[in-house]
Each structure stands twice: as structure tokens, then as C-alpha cells.
């Protein structure tokens, strides 16, 4: 357990010091969301209608930003060899790195999301559900993204390939994440959507660490 925490602590420290983590993702998130009223015009009904989708799409893109460095920095400086030789199984190392990634990207996005949704005139009923949906959805983004990051770890400038690999896998999170908010704002029950988001998270937690670790082993060989 102390090894697990040591990796999380180090990765958070790295993300904060290199400036590539939380502040960058949140700034990107805010910029993308504010572009919509600027582009479409300040029509309340229209913005309210698209708010859930816009916030979710912007969050998916922002969560992708720092993914390409998730394992690559360690791969390039030889640290991945040492991580692979540590007593902690590679699968748990993946979970630790995803946890750190979520804490420095997903969590700040989750905090910023309701504020931005308010900017887009989202109905008050939707805000709490949006936060809840993002709490369930964003960890899945880090975990699913880890598979893509592990597959492209050996490729220089693999960021574009990573997006092409990972974005299609984000579709279910987008559909049910936006669906939950949609349901709440149209006085339907958001519960089924949230349950499916929870199920997606559990599935990602069960499968992504194994897939990522297998991909990393291929790249170490």
C-alpha cells in the first residue's frame, strides 16, 4: 500500500511542478466551453439545450490532454523498467498512475464543470446531477485512456494516434454522462444513466489495468 501511495504522491508532485496537469486541463476546459456562447450567440434556450453535451465533450477533450505523457515520461527516462521491477504488480502501478491522473485532471474538471454549466444556462436541477455524473464518469476516462497511453508509449508524438484510439472508447461515458443531465433537466429520473456510468467505471477498473499492463509489457520487451 505504501508503494501505491508513493507513486500517487510522486505523480501528483510531477503534475503540479511541470505545470502540465490540473491548471492546463482546467484552462483548456474553460476555454472550449466559453467558445460555444461566443460562436453560437447568447440565446438562452439554445445554450441550455446544448449545455450538457458541450460540457461533457469539452471535459473528454481536456482529460485527453495530459494522457500521452501518462507512461511515456517514465518510458523515456528508464523509470518504467524500475517500476516494472518494483514489488508492486504492473496492474496496480497502472491504477496508481490513473488515480494520480484523475486527481490532477478529472477532479479539477469535476469542480469546474457546474460553474461552466451555469454559464451555459443549465437548469439548476442539472447541476448536481452533472457533478455526480462527472464523479462517476471522469475516473473511467483516466482508466480507459491508460490503455491508449500504454499502447502508444513507444511512439514519439503518439498523441494523435492516442486520441484516435481512445476517443471512440469514450463514447459510452459521453452518452450516459450527457444523458443523465438531460434526464434531470427534463424532469426524468437520471438514476439509470448514473447506474450505467457506475457500471462503466467498475468495468474500466476491472479491465483497463490488465490491458494497460499487458501493453506496457509488450513495449518493455
Amino acid at each position: 500500500m505504501s508503494h501505491f501511495l508513493a507513486i500517487i504522491r510522486r505523480d501528483i508532485k510531477l503534475a503540479l511542478r511541470q505545470g502540465g496537469g490540473a491548471p492546463l486541463a482546467v484552462a483548456f476546459f474553460i476555454l472550449v466551453v466559453t467558445f460555444f456562447p461566443l460562436g453560437i450567440g447568447p440565446e438562452h434556450a439554445l445554450l441550455e439545450r446544448i449545455s450538457a453535451g458541450v460540457v461533457w465533450v469539452a471535459a473528454l477533450l481536456a482529460a485527453m490532454l495530459s494522457l500521452d505523457r501518462l507512461f511515456q515520461a517514465d518510458f523515456e527516462d528508464g523509470g518504467l523498467d524500475l517500476l516494472a521491477l518494483s514489488p508492486l504488480p504492473l496492474e496496480l502501478i497502472v491504477v496508481a498512475k490513473c488515480t494520480a491522473h484523475w486527481l490532477t485532471t478529472g477532479l479539477p474538471l469535476l469542480i469546474a464543470a457546474p460553474v461552466l454549466a451555469l454559464l451555459l444556462d443549465m437548469a439548476p436541477d442539472g447541476l448536481a446531477v452533472l457533478a455526480l455524473a462527472m464523479l462517476l464518469g471522469t475516473p473511467s476516462l483516466s482508466l480507459i485512456g491508460a490503455i491508449g497511453a500504454a499502447l502508444t508509449v513507444g511512439i514519439r508524438r503518439g498523441g494523435v494516434l492516442l486520441s484516435l484510439l481512445v476517443l471512440p472508447l469514450y463514447v459510452p461515458v459521453l452518452i450516459f454522462g450527457a444523458g443523465a443531465v438531460e434526464a434531470a433537466t427534463s424532469a426524468l429520473a437520471p438514476r439509470p444513466h448514473l447506474l450505467i456510468l457506475g457500471a462503466l467505471l467498475l468495468a474500466a477498473l476491472a479491465l483497463a489495468p490488465w490491458a494497460s499492463a499487458a501493453a506496457l509489457r509488450l513495449n518493455l520487451d
Binding site: 500500500m1 505504501s2 528508464g78 524500475l82 521491477l85 514489488p87
Partner: protein, 216 residues
């Protein structure tokens, strides 16, 4: 340190991509012994060390610890080895002390390292004054010393070193040799791949360049 054993490779074949690096290679290191692996570029020194660490799978042959396949209990094998690759595994934005304490915390089973042990390791390679300097500001030799300091806090039995003296000055090389000899005196095993003869007492030599080139 855990008690030493005998580490052997029997009939090892190594294939990288389509290329056969070496075939039918044998080596043996006993507790307290050292093995110097030499050979020209591309002869498979690094590959042999990665095989020995269990990072690569041999295309053929066996790696044995006290006669038992290392793949049978790979976690046990990982726990008894310390690996210094040709890359330094330092994070540019972390300080020398932070880098060292992270890797040593990760390699020990209890995951904790006291400050005195950390300071002693840094002192051994003359890094005390650089402890709070970010690794990105270090010279190549200083980076190498920061990587080698991991050995000084290691409780591993088997040390695998890839070109440890690259960019090292004479004083640091002497400090490394002293550390290696102390490790061997305590029953540890040392495998070094290097172009430079470290002059370890009674070290066995394995010259990969002197072996017949594998037929392509």
C-alpha cells in the same frame, strides 16, 4: 541483505526484432562474486542484463537462481535484484533527494527509508550539496551518480549494472568500486556490463565480442 545464492544462465538465446543477438550463452555468478560483461556495441551486453532482470524473455535457454528457474517466482527474483540501466530514471523536476527517496521507497518491501540512510547514500557519491537541486540542472556525471546512489540504499542481493561508469569521474568511479566490493564482501552478487575494466578483485569475465557471431 538477504543471503546470496548462485545465479546462472544456461544456453541463453536472445533475439531482438529479427536479429539474433547471441546464442547458447552460459554464465554463472556465485555469492560474493562479480561478472564483468564486455564486448563491442550491439553484442548484447544490455540485452543480457535485461534478460537477467527478467525484463526480457530469453528466446531460449534458462536463467536459474540456486538451480530454480527465475520465471517460477519472478516476484522473488525482482525483490532480490537492483537494476541500474543505461538511463538514469531521474525526473527532471524532482530534486536529487526526492528522486532517490522515491525509488528506494519503491524497491524496499516496507516502503520507508529513514533520512540518515538517504544522507549516507548521497554522501557516498558526493551529492550532499546537490540534494535539493532539481535533477534537470545536473551534469551527465552528476545524474549518473544520482542513479548509482540507489545502490547505496538497496537491500538487493543481485546488482545488475549497465555501463555504470559512463560520464563518471575518477573519484566517483572509485566510490562505486568501493561500494561494489563492500556488497560482494557481504555475500552480494554483481554483474556489470562495461567498456571500462573496473578492476574488481577476482571478477570473472564474459566477453560477448569473443564469441562466434550468430549465423543470421
Amino acid at each position: 541483505m538477504t543471503a546470496g545464492g548462485t545465479f546462472e544462465g544456461r544456453g541463453l538465446d536472445c533475439v531482438r526484432g529479427e536479429r539474433v543477438i547471441f546464442e547458447d550463452l552460459d554464465f554463472s555468478v556465485e555469492a560474493g562474486a562479480a561478472l564483468m560483461v564486455t564486448g563491442p556495441n550491439g553484442s548484447g551486453k544490455s540485452s543480457l542484463l535485461r534478460l537477467a532482470a527478467g525484463l526480457l524473455r530469453p528466446a531460449g535457454g534458462h536463467l536459474l537462481w540456486d538451480g530454480a528457474e527465475i520465471t517460477g517466482a519472478i516476484e522473488v527474483h525482482r525483490a532480490r535484484l537492483a537494476f541500474i540501466g543505461h538511463l538514469d530514471a531521474l525526473k527532471p523536476s524532482l530534486t536529487v533527494a526526492e528522486n532517490l527517496s522515491f525509488w528506494s521507497a519503491l524497491s524496499t518491501t516496507h516502503g520507508r527509508l529513514d533520512d540518515a540512510a538517504l544522507d549516507a547514500a548521497l554522501n557516498r557519491f558526493g551529492l550532499a550539496a546537490l540534494a535539493n537541486v532539481a535533477a534537470r540542472l545536473l551534469s551527465a556525471g552528476e545524474r549518473r551518480r544520482a542513479a548509482l546512489a540507489r545502490l547505496a540504499v538497496s537491500s538487493a542481493t543481485l546488482w545488475l549494472l549497465d555501463e555504470p561508469t559512463a560520464a563518471l569521474d575518477a573519484a566517483s568511479t572509485a566510490a562505486l568500486i568501493e561500494l561494489l566490493e563492500a556488497h560482494r564482501a557481504g555475500g552480494g552478487l554483481v554483474v556489470v556490463a562495461s567498456h571500462v575494466d573496473l578492476g574488481l578483485s577476482g571478477a570473472a569475465a564474459l566477453d560477448l565480442g569473443a564469441r562466434p557471431r550468430p549465423t543470421p
